[in-house]
Symmetry: C2
Subunit: 401 residues, 2 copies
């Protein structure tokens, strides 16, 4: 039998999901000589490993914490997340990270060809989840104050009928910006007026180190599904995220989770619940995280301003894990190879593009490295950009007229 016959002949759904440039870049960032600004990994040294170890030991005193649980999540975890998010427990569905919430919602709500509006640049995981259900994905250009609800309203008035509008409204990945309260209210009003669901994808909201919290979009309307996660505030390996929604949505998604992977881990849900419920410890831990990420963001942004060309646009985040850069004249994708030679990695803008040309943009994360290392990384990035822009200018000059 020939090897070709063993190609899986993937389904249309499988063919519609593009591989993530981020994932492919992880291979590069794993080279020990490369300083990784590319990934979205929280700082390993800030993960509360001792507190997690203690909660795990306590949970294992009850062997039933190693049994199956129900698809919606353990009662203890739903209640703890409900308290953490200030919603009733029956509005909570525990998921395997918030990526699973996205994927289950896409399956639950979207038929092939349905219009789904996402930010442009987009969170790559959201695009993949909606690609997998073969949605008609439209990119709404992101503004410095978040999602462009005025343009969305014009689209709706002109006849567009989205099924879902997805946005990372707080500390956008990759854009770094947040939507203000007026835009949040406007988006929720449009959802009510035009009958779409808003997915308020919020893994970073607790990592605010500056400015005022505008609050979740669900405060402004009923057609809002919020996503949250323990990955960025506790630890990714807990694989605990959550979805907050009206109970009929929770029931539909719960049935799909049963088919997707039966249930989550009783053990890691128990550990997450214990840590979220320890309010005093959690408040202190979040303060530590915020201070650390503030110092890192400041170090990186200041160093980038010093090292990069004067016409570079840099988002100056109030929280979260990402900065978004625009460097006029740069081919960010071509620059990546030069950057790797210099010992630094980032994600080129086109990885996040829906319809816009983001070829002169790139995303950097300050979450993983300490301030001194971030300054070294910024200097390496500055050299890579200088070499790459110089080459491009040179090749432009050499072009026959």
């Amino acid at each position: 039998m020939s090897h070709t016959a063993l190609e899986p002949r993937p389904s249309a759904a499988a063919r519609s999901v593009r591989s993530s440039a981020i994932r492919d870049l992880l291979a590069v960032t794993e080279r020990p000589d490369i300083l990784g600004l590319a990934g979205g990994l929280p700082a390993t040294e800030l993960i509360p490993v001792d507190r997690i170890a203690a909660a795990t030991t306590a949970a294992l005193n009850d062997p039933s914490s190693l049994q199956y649980t129900v698809s919606a999540g353990t009662g203890v975890a739903r209640a703890a997340i409900g308290r953490h998010e200030d919603v009733p427990a029956d509005h909570v569905l525990v998921t395997h990270g918030s990526q699973q919430a996205l994927s289950l919602l896409a399956t639950a709500l979207v038929d092939p060809g349905d219009v789904v509006v996402v930010d442009d640049p987009v969170y790559v995981g959201a695009r993949q989840a909606f690609e997998a259900v073969r949605a008609d994905i439209r990119g709404l250009p992101l503004t410095p104050t978040g999602i462009d609800t005025e343009l969305l309203e014009r689209w709706c008035r002109a006849g567009l009928r989205p099924r879902v509008v997805h946005s990372v409204a707080t500390f956008h990945n990759p854009g770094g910006v947040s939507a203000d309260a007026a835009r949040r209210r406007h988006l929720a009003e449009l959802a009510d007026a035009y009958g779409f669901w808003v997915v308020d994808d919020d893994p970073y909201g607790r990592l605010r180190f500056r400015g005022e919290d505008s609050g979740p979009i669900r405060r402004h309307g009923e057609r809002v599904i919020s996503l949250g996660s323990a990955s960025k505030i506790l630890a990714p390996a807990l694989r605990v995220g959550w979805l907050l929604a009206p109970p009929p949505v929770v029931a539909t998604v719960e049935r799909l989770r049963q088919s997707a992977d039966l249930c989550g881990s009783t053990l890691t849900q128990s550990v997450t619940a214990a840590l979220l419920d320890d309010r005093e410890w959690l408040a202190g831990h979040l303060t530590d995280l915020r201070m650390a990420y503030r110092d890192r963001a400041t170090a990186l942004v200041d160093a980038l301003r010093a090292e990069l060309p004067h016409d570079t646009e840099i988002s100056d985040p109030d929280g979260g894990m990402f900065c978004w850069l625009r460097i006029p004249g740069l081919d960010a994708t071509a620059c990546l190879a030069t950057a790797a030679e210099q010992g630094v990695a980032f994600v080129p803008g086109p990885a996040f593009a829906v319809e816009r040309d983001l070829s002169d943009c790139l995303r950097v994360s300050y979450a993983t490295l300490d301030p001194d290392t971030l300054r070294i990384a910024a200097a390496r990035l500055g050299r890579a950009v200088a070499v790459s822009r110089g080459r491009r200018a040179g090749s432009a000059a050499a072009r026959p007229r």
Copy 2:
């Protein structure tokens, strides 16, 4: 805004997944006065909680065990599972239980309307996974020696072109039976001849307490994807299952897992790898499990033979967790309420039916309860069946001629 407007208007995919009777029955089995023969939970007291606690503590010495990992699973886990299953590590993809493997494979390989052949009675999770991708599901009647490959060959000769044939070939859930070596070989040959993929779904194979192991179907051909799980031999809450397949299939499924939930838990994959790699400990642990399940199976089957009507057909399993009963004249679904009154629960046959009439059948599990409790449960089931059959005979007699 009316409440009705907040109904999610589920997608076609969401509407095509039926809720599982098993899941709905879990609510009943949680009543403390009811002896649960319904569930498929491994015995909590046989879970190696101390060994898992020690491996967890050891893993947490390295804080990176709380970070994200890649979608295919940690290198350590893939290698350990490869050794455990005697396949190369690049043929292994780690999943969130084997249910996720089913769901990802269904998405990867099946387009809406594609024919998928399953056992009839079917493992409910497989039916749900293939329903979610809107497959054309055909039930192949299960025989006492497993999947009916002769009938499948006749169907293929008559023009049926399945995309996937799914079977629990070893210690069938719910049927209790296993396919012999000749049927395994025949199935693999049909897969090569007609170009379908076999999914050899094997969560129970290590729980053999009697008879000869016929070996995995993949020994007989190349178009075979094997599924395995740590849930029944270590602990469900690890949420570690696996898929063994040619690398092109692994690559397709890996991309879909990225979209589905990004990655599994580095921590529980690390714990699973440590336990699978401790070959001497694992061998002893599996011997303990087999002896315990053998004693339970013997106790339940003997008690059922004594308590149930003489014309009852009882599968006498050589391993796994389930017995399948046929009690002529019983309406098993109607009997469930009577059984609950008597303090015992089971799953009625129709929950597992694809096309067959299984209304006089039911599934019981001996895994969760100890032998003495199983004998009490069998006596309760005997009373429920006597009452239920008596009622039915009475109502038949009272029917006007």
